[in-house]
Symmetry: C2
Subunit: 335 residues, 2 copies
């Protein structure tokens, strides 16, 4: 069986879910450990993971490099990689980029839905692009090997991040707008620039990102991937399911509202449907990756292409992205 | 003697300076207690002030209302009002607005030189205006009586803050661009909008904001005030000296660089002159407010206008701005 990597999940973690990962043959998962958390709160979330690693060593362990994905496969476990959907863990402190990378962070979004200190989120009315601090932090992330993720960022910021970054970036969980024009999905311009710069797109299974939402068919999803592959190359695609399994609806409210407003913000939902939408029946949880694999073959992908999309593309990206860049000397004065 | 209020200082505080305030007849000073500090660090700075209040009760005490300025005058002391030059003390948490107001914060800039979570700073290349969180925080500041200060903000953000805010805002320390076109000084558009909305301009004595910098003459400074008064009305003007007395140059480097870059940023200075510039000889410290008072009379201001500019305009603004707004019910959903 080819490698299986899911490059974005935010479940209500439990032994049950870790066992389902094993049932589904999932070698590695990039888990979100911060939406709105500051540095100290993010460290608390790492401490929680450390307790799970201690409690379930036969199921999971912390991944830091591509080699850990291979080790996971060899030992029948799932490697867990940490990432953030917001730069809130670095607060206003560029020095925290290296500290958090040392603690295992491997992906960081430059913005969530709102404006951050670094970049603009997709719900802001205006997008001025990457900020002064954003330029400095991108250089530092490039240096230490923390991958820039622009999944929730606005378009201009996303394009500028690719230009400024000296290393390929990722959009860990989103789909093409040509298939389903949701605010969170990405334009042809973004997808083409991502592919040209060697970046990766993680295809999302979150119903708000799917055509026909919870009723989306496996065939439609896989046909979209075929079209994306024609545009970007099949080697630029992977899975980033955005699976939020077993979470109560209070969590999606917190994701949207954080601490930035005292009022309700429905985000991708609405007043009549504020909660998590149900998953499509062909991708309920970690046990269903086989359905996607079969669906990709059915729409005509080669065995090699299927293996790439299911995990080997992410594995190659992990190998190239998570280590420090060769030494470079920065100009001493900021722009 | 009329009231004397200096609506912005950031000195290296000491008994010497507190005694100079008394010599200069200064009834109230708005002191900056945060440039880049987060909530906890801001509280530490408040603790430091609490020790000074305990140590020098015959010289200073914490001001919270306009009545405290009158009490300062009656008891021969200086009332110290707290403010922030950046929204860093509220971090990403709108709930901290009320907490910090309860602790005595009375002014908060929505941005310093860079992009913040709320608004854009004057050194960014682009200014998209007030962010989603910025709109929410402005409403909360209006509610509790924390004054919006846009001294270091970019122009569009400044104009939008005035539009969005239901209460008058302040530019606590800056001068008109028509006199000295520094990046930190303000355009006619901003000054006119500020006056029309009932806001206040604190005239700065920081040499980078002065025509001819450290060589600026008292006459030139007071003629500029006369022109500003023609444009805005003399009742919209006060002093916000930006006096950074006895500070080592390492402090101005920290103000510019904070924790957002690992490189040097010279801000208003330059590689050849990175430090604090010398004060003009007619405004060395708190003992020299009499020079400004005399200079204002010399350019033709009436006694009443001079009293307004030296302190009574700020006192009126304090009376109107520091208390909670009458109860309003907010719409439940965010924009």
């Amino acid at each position: 069986m080819s490698y299986r990597i899911d490059n974005l999940q935010y479940a209500n973690w439990s032994e049950k879910i870790f066992r389902e990962m094993r049932e589904g043959g999932v070698d590695a998962v990039h888990v979100t450990i911060a939406y709105h958390e500051n540095f100290r709160e993010t460290v608390l979330n790492m401490e929680r993971w450390n307790r799970w690693f201690e409690q379930f060593p036969e199921l999971i362990f912390q991944g830091r490099t591509g080699a850990d994905v291979r080790r996971a496969r060899e030992t029948g476990r799932t490697a867990i990689f940490f990432g953030f959907q917001n730069p809130s863990p670095i607060e206003d402190d560029i020095g925290l980029v290296e500290i958090l990378h040392s603690l295992g962070a491997r992906f960081m979004q430059l913005s969530y839905n709102n404006q951050s200190l670094l970049a603009t989120g997709c719900y802001e009315a205006e997008d001025p692009g990457i900020t002064r601090m954003g330029r400095e932090v991108i250089a530092e992330m490039n240096r230490v090997g923390l991958v820039i993720d622009m999944s929730h960022s606005a378009e201009r910021s996303t394009l500028e991040a690719m230009e400024i970054s000296s290393r390929p970036i990722a959009i860990t969980h989103a789909n093409p707008s040509f298939w389903h024009p949701a605010l969170r999905n990405k334009s042809d311009t973004v997808l083409n620039a991502l592919a040209e710069s060697g970046g990766m797109l993680g295809l999302s299974l979150y119903p708000h990102h799917l055509k026909d939402k919870s009723d989306c068919t496996l065939e439609s999803f896989c046909e979209m991937i075929a079209r994306a592959a024609e545009m970007m190359g099949a080697d630029k695609l992977g899975i980033g399911s955005d699976l939020c399994q077993d979470q109560p609806d209070s969590i999606v409210e917190w994701m949207r509202v954080g601490r930035w407003t005292k009022r309700i913000d429905y985000g991708e939902g609405s007043a009549s449907a504020p909660g998590f939408p149900p998953q499509p029946d062909w991708f309920r949880d970690n046990r269903d990756f086989g359905n996607i694999e079969a669906g990709l073959s059915a729409v005509g992908f080669s065995a090699e292409e299927v293996a790439g999309i299911m995990g080997e593309n992410w594995l190659r990206f992990y190998d190239e992205s998570f280590s420090a860049a060769p030494e470079v000397s920065l100009p001493r004065a900021a722009e």
